[in-house]
Symmetry: C2
Amino acid sequence: MKSNLEDIARAAGVSKMTVSRVLRGGTGFSDETRDKVEKIAKAVGYVPNRLAVAFGADQSGTLVGMCVPRLTSGLFGHVLDGVDRALSRLGYQLMIGATNHSADEEEAWVRQVMAWRPAGLILSGRTHTPGTVDLLRASAAPVVEIWDLTTSPIDMSVGFSHFDCGAEMAQFLIRRGRRRAGFVGALAQTDGRGADMMGAARLEGFEATLSRAGHPLIGHEVLHDAPGFYAGYYGLETLLARQADLDVVYFHNDEMAIGGLAYAQSRGLRVPEDIGIAGWGGMEAASILPRRLTTTVVPTTAIGKAAAEALVARLKGEAGPEVTVIPTRLVPGETG
Amino acid sequence: MKSNLEDIARAAGVSKMTVSRVLRGGTGFSDETRDKVEKIAKAVGYVPNRLAVAFGADQSGTLVGMCVPRLTSGLFGHVLDGVDRALSRLGYQLMIGATNHSADEEEAWVRQVMAWRPAGLILSGRTHTPGTVDLLRASAAPVVEIWDLTTSPIDMSVGFSHFDCGAEMAQFLIRRGRRRAGFVGALAQTDGRGADMMGAARLEGFEATLSRAGHPLIGHEVLHDAPGFYAGYYGLETLLARQADLDVVYFHNDEMAIGGLAYAQSRGLRVPEDIGIAGWGGMEAASILPRRLTTTVVPTTAIGKAAAEALVARLKGEAGPEVTVIPTRLVPGETG
DNA sequence: AGCAAAAAAGTTATCGATAACATCCGGGGC
DNA sequence: GCCCCGGATGTTATCGATAACTTTTTTGCT
């Protein structure tokens, strides 16, 4: 059923080349020829073969690969949306993958995708295997690393500093009079190798700033579990069993913070009077809560959009920015 | 930097064909040749060119296109995750797109993707433009329609019946003694053409069952807004302004139901004593609530997995099931 | 009319992998 | 010694679009 340029050319009594020129809207043909070719192309339902075009050019031209840690993350869903809106409007196709927080899975994905000769890639995070870096450097495709900012990106970087997020939250909580802070985090899924803590830089920034202010971190609990509601609930339970005298707890993300909030309520602890709760990420659903969660809002869609735009600029030969900072915003709320 | 079979062949002193045979793990070469070729391929960092393979075969072989209404939807994020896990394990690549609830945008996306000659497609919903259907029928690629079940799918269908979801909820609420039900929904984004109500079949099933039971739907409010927390909040406000005597309200989804819950609380209405609230979808974050939301849980990941498996079965020439029903589950909760 | 210039159209080569077919070579059977 | 067989390897054609180039036709001008 599929027809190609030659079929149309034969039907129109012209050459393939003329058909190609007409359908790409170039010049070098008469109005009469154009009408005839366009009519036939429409009649036979011609669908161009990008495989052939891409193969001939030895690069896909309009294929962009994007890899995120998890497809089920609300935050990355919005990043993906920002990228998709910006790219699809310009005729690019998006090939996606998930690392499940494993650098090895990322390498496997990059290897698969490179076989399609993508025009560009968007990766999440700044930690990659040496094999991944080799693959990327060997190709001419521009790469945007999003989320964690890198001062020395492979190519380009769009995001924010997790360290600064943690530091800012520490400062804020100290200003609000908190003196005995704890932290509840989550481990990324292991993959044989040691598991990294997710958003570890946030804890570092938090801890360093607390120490500098003279009120060091009292305790922390890192769960080996998906960073969701239940991990927050049980994480706070475990942490308080060890350190009952905390006056504020900083959570890995809003879902976990909400879980912590639920635990505090179940124990009869008043928030924020008895204990403060702070999250991170700016989860939409947090607006469910009767009182606004103290958190850091991450402009996810803007990151996706900026990443797509930086990539496209580079693809068009313009000198895109090497590092784009998308500032996060601490939202005071009523729980911290 | 990129090398091809010929480079390796030259270095190894053999022909391209022999290299191809070795790297694909076939037969017809000596151990000595295999070792030499494999060593060189690794040394030069050979990455096969799937563009060339796909082009030669006149179909991509391992490229699957998937289109969802919104990338930011938590439910579809999980569907996407189910599909990705099932497919990436088998070496397929996933090309995604979003319709933003517009059949025309879906057609545009399908047209773009067909140019890549995908091995198969996964679409969401059963409403497509005639142009989309033509494109799909003209290609040999198998198509899985997910989410809404269709009795007459283009090819295959995996999902559940929205009508039945609505009907089941109506039965449940009547059993709980509700007699004056209302509904709050949301319009899909318009695209010039008339906007369809999202999940319209759910309202139909709800309404039909209520009528049959002798307690017809009293009122409904359909907002022209994203189906989120605020739409639920203001939707209930508007509905109650017109019909103050409702004893239960069924919402388009859990986000909206939670918004409705917030409005009820702000008005001093007791839930479920003064008014019942029911949602749909099984949003994870709903577990945040002090009392469990009455809702219908949709097994999103299972739908994605089943869709991927049905597609792969068809691609392997097996006769996959035409229609796969993934049952939803009504969760009673304490709000309805 | 004649001729140059521009417009319209055609030809050829190319991209990488692979199926299908062709060839080469050594060893065993007669 | 010759022939056949089969394992190892090489050769050719192919897929669709397009860049670069060439040829043909038309137009405009004197």
